[in-house]
């Protein structure tokens, strides 16, 4: 970590940037003063998404001589926090798209294949093209897969047509979602907003989408013709009780209905009807617009490798890691970071930002023959948009404690413009800086 003087993010800090080039040069020179550790270890990183790319960039700065191989068959890098904005017509699809190779440091070898098999006993990873990599340390950062197949009647090509939206499927699908959601926000009707009954990335996103479409319908003068209902998968609107209550109040303020314990089971796009599984049996609801988020699971290569939890999330297959060190509970030379890690909270880019330095510290300590006390406390953050121009900056940890970064300045449960500014302006920049290993 850099050791410069701590700056608070006030205008003073900003003005400080303009104050003198000499200061800036000095700060630049002060970065990454730590000595590199010499090693010949082979580190294999599965996945070049937010977690994989950020970790690769940081390890390159910490290790001298390490062989780092990053495995990812996808050419595009997706800035997923942007999907909510794309699906509300606020940004174009290409806002979230860059190339994987844009973010990888020199000296790291990229294998443009997907991993096909992991053998933790032999310490090998087989790739889709048959190549086998032997590793000393393995970082699993594959992300997760969206299991649309488990919703009966759902086809990906429904997205954007006949009132079906699903912003999670990718930048283009987020834009298609806006085509369907925007029509609903103009014409009104019955809008159903859902979420799956698995762990999911950014549990705030289904709620943000609900609030944004409510606001856009309001701006269009069509809110009076629209009936909007949010369906929670369990008995709360959000995993953190105090936040759940706040959302319930803001829903009330906006005239958004909510229902608990409703999980989408099947969809009949022709009849514009979804069937929910509920404790009282199946419930059918007709819609003019429905937002579907599919169940989310670890990729097959992880689930089939014997690395997943045996007694938790057995239908989802997240990697069996210690929730503080992110080290595998049975194979100490394996870590998991990002969405695929089997920890109770935090499938967000903000979690990645906090997880990556922890894995980095433990890995570097292992290589140096020392130990590290670095610990991930479950921190995650969600700028929960409540309308265009306002958001609540919600941050919390494993204990469901609120952990505001700016206590007394930015209130976590207030709808504020500054929190919106962070989401709109600063978040992508911070994310990009993180990918480069600089934040």
């Amino acid at each position: 970590m850099t050791k410069e003087t701590q700056f608070t993010p006030t205008r003073r800090g900003f003005l400080g940037l303009a104050a003198g080039a000499g200061v800036l040069a000095a700060a630049g020179a002060g970065q990454k003063a730590e000595a590199q550790i010499a090693t010949t270890a082979h580190i294999v990183i599965l996945g070049a998404g937010a977690a994989g790319a950020a970790l690769a960039n940081r390890l390159v700065g910490r290790l001298d001589g390490a062989r780092i191989t990053i495995v990812d068959g996808r050419k595009e890098h997706w800035y997923q926090p942007g999907f909510s904005l794309i699906a509300a017509g606020l940004k174009p699809a290409n806002y979230s798209v860059s190339q994987t190779t844009d973010w990888l440091p020199r000296g790291v070898e990229l294998k443009t294949e997907m991993a096909a098999n992991i053998d933790p006993e032999a310490k090998t990873v087989a790739l889709g093209n048959g190549e086998v990599l032997r590793y000393d340390y393995l970082i699993i950062a594959t992300g997760l897969v969206l299991d649309y197949d488990s919703i009966d009647g759902f086809e990906m090509d429904m997205i954007g047509k006949d009132g079906v939206g699903s912003l999670y499927a990718g930048p283009d699908y987020a834009a298609k979602t806006w085509a369907a959601a925007g029509k609903f926000a103009e014409e009104g009707g019955v809008g159903l907003f859902t979420r799956p009954n698995t762990e999911m990335k950014c549990a705030g996103a289904p709620i943000k989408h609900t609030f944004l479409i409510d606001d856009i319908a309001r701006r269009n003068g069509a809110r009076g013709k629209a009936e909007i209902t949010y369906f929670a998968n369990n008995a709360s609107l959000f995993g953190v009780p105090i936040v759940s209550e706040k959302i319930r109040m803001v829903f009330g303020d906006r005239g958004i209905n909510h229902a608990y314990n409703h999980v989408v089971q099947s969809i009949d796009a022709g009849a514009k009807r979804v069937t929910f599984a509920t404790p009282d049996g199946p419930v059918e609801r007709d819609y003019d617009y429905v937002h579907i988020i599919p169940p989310q699971r670890a990729p097959d290569v992880v689930r089939n490798s014997g690395l997943a939890w045996a007694d938790k999330w057995t239908d989802q297959g997240w990697v069996d890691v210690d929730k503080h060190s992110l080290r595998h509970n049975r194979y100490p030379d394996i870590f998991a970071v990002g969405d695929v890690a089997g920890v109770p909270k935090g499938k967000t880019a903000a979690s990645v930002k906090w997880q990556v330095p922890v894995v980095e510290e433990h890995l570097v300590a292992d290589i140096a023959g020392t130990s590290s006390t670095a610990s991930y406390n479950g921190y995650t953050s969600c700028p929960l948009i409540t309308r265009i121009g306002r958001a609540m900056l919600i941050e919390f940890d494993y204990n469901n404690d609120l952990t505001p970064s700016f206590p007394g300045v930015i209130a976590p449960l207030e709808e504020l413009w500054i929190s919106w500014l962070m989401k709109e302006v600063a978040l992508k920049a911070t994310y990009n800086a993180m990918l480069r290993g600089r934040a």
């Binding site: 205008r11 970065q31 606020l90 330095p357 121009g389 504020l416 919106w420 600063a426 600089r438």
Partner: protein, 119 residues
Amino acid sequence: MKDLTFGTLIAVFEEIFGRGLFWVMVGAAVIITLAYLYVLIRDRSVSWHKFLWAQLSMPFGAIAAVLFVQAMTHSSFADIGGPVDVIVLLGVAVAGAVGAAILVYTVESLLWPKKATDA
């Protein structure tokens, strides 16, 4: 935010504006500030005549800065939700006002150097 250091802030601003534009803007701010200090030292006094024009430009700078930020962020005055938002809004306005004043004063001083009538 974790480890919000000066280096992180610079990295974030580089990403917001692009590395090239960010440093051009820093350069422009530094040059204008240096030019401002230069004319102050050169003239050995503040020209109240020029300062009047600089002051008159301040409200326009303030309004322009606020509207620019709102236009760039899909926001409006109705989005002000709490005290910190008012502070941010005023901060943007003050930055715009001060920037406009320094710019106008400096440009005036460079184009029309000190005359006997100024005091």
